[in-house]
Symmetry: C2
Amino acid sequence: MPHSVLVSGGCGFLGSHLVDRLLLREDLETLVIVDNLWTGSRDNIAHVSDPRLSLRIADAESFTTSQHFDEIIHLASPASPVWYMREPARTIKANIGGALNLLSLLRPGGRFCFASTSEVYGDPLMSPQPESYRGSVDCTGPRASYDESKRCTEALLFEEQRVSGLDVRVVRLFNTYGPRTRIDDGRAVSNFVCQALTTGILTVHGDGSQSRSWGYVDDIVDGLERFFWRDSIAYRGPLNIGNNREVSVLGIAKFVCSLVPGSRIEHRAPIPQDPTNRCPDLTLVRQVLPGWEATTGYQEGIRRTFEWYRRRIVTEDRSAANA
Amino acid sequence: MPHSVLVSGGCGFLGSHLVDRLLLREDLETLVIVDNLWTGSRDNIAHVSDPRLSLRIADAESFTTSQHFDEIIHLASPASPVWYMREPARTIKANIGGALNLLSLLRPGGRFCFASTSEVYGDPLMSPQPESYRGSVDCTGPRASYDESKRCTEALLFEEQRVSGLDVRVVRLFNTYGPRTRIDDGRAVSNFVCQALTTGILTVHGDGSQSRSWGYVDDIVDGLERFFWRDSIAYRGPLNIGNNREVSVLGIAKFVCSLVPGSRIEHRAPIPQDPTNRCPDLTLVRQVLPGWEATTGYQEGIRRTFEWYRRRIVTEDRSAANA
């Protein structure tokens, strides 16, 4: 049966990779991307020429159409602290307002997929974090617009499942990196790679001992593809998806330095309420998606990301020189 | 200086008591109540005839006016589990959508007050709960629409304070009871009183050992009045307001039984995710509002509530008999 799919945030880093996968589906009839290009970019889908795809430049919370969709994948939200901390109200609108609005565009019986985040665990008091962990989020803190709007959107969707039988799929994504991250994204991997390629000085906040599990985007999108549409799964979420091999921020910086001779690390003030650790408990995802694993090691993943940035930065330099 | 004030949810239980206090202010020029009468009732303000007051029947999330307000007090939300569990999306819209919309009606430099809840602590792992406790809320659970929309609205307001200097006041209210609670509110005190006055059978969920701190409405509104407008206070919240003398649900039921000879208690199945305890740490409020205390004991408060219900139920019976 031909499917119509809407992806909000489909011009974003993660969204555009997921769009590539969706376009491989033979049962896909139409794919509508709704994106306001706040943190997404047309560049991320510039390589696509597929008549099934259309792009609508609009906010997820106010997009209207007479069409109804078989599947909606709601990704619209900034994901980097520097972006969401700058515009907290807009972040809340994108997540919750987006979900409320897009729910009205789902055909009866359709499926609503949502990318939640490991940030729902806040600064966790247990590690690794299983889905049953209720988290330790300061709802009055400087990261709260993102953390709480993701938590509240989860609440909305599971409540709609309870009261009206909505078919939901909710994943909690841990740190994800790879090609198509914005140069000014502001998170560790892209920061370090861009700094290494430009100034040669990598800035590490605090002592860099805070650890993250770094998931390479191709692995993460493998998991999303299987959970959102490919596998037949009774479980609806929340489902941790990520890499559980923790590496410190300093470890990442050192590895990036090793790729660019002459680059070096400088320490800056710590970021307020930066979680000390974040690592997925993958017990559940191994049951739900047997065989799935984030297999790309951080060194391989960072090398690929580095190559992508290098080509982009070199191209931009050439364009600037020719301008 | 004459003040214009908007109260969303001003026809509700708590809202209508707060409206009574607001109308005692000599600096109050206009008072607009925005209420969709979902859980509120015109009856709650029927005793008021004050030319400064106007009622607008509208949802807080979509109310529009050309007027701007010096103070906005956002109370619009159901507060009883049976009500918010029935319409979770609407609950989220009232809280977060309401706050987002009402913020646009605040004059620059105005004050935005919000009634958050002890439910932000979820089923707490520590007792009593200080404001710094990050809580233990299951954001996928059956109470999540309320708990998470209150948490996310707090997030929105404290973030707006951070990015744009918004003057916020946020309280976390613990269980509050008293006259003007709906007969079908569904929470313990009003349930027990109404059951005692009608069927004579008081239904207790589980064994009734779950405890709450029961705050009589007059005491709670004393605290709100001081924090929202009367005292000059630098602290903006969150601030616990409640009674810290815990009484079990069964203890309340037994006391109500003692008021109506022949009434008795029946036990029913426990409510899912009913918190086992909830008790405010009042250290902070004693510093912020020196001298304030919820002094009305539960026996005195329940007697007053009982009298109010008795008069109402007798009046309704007479009206029915005369109909």
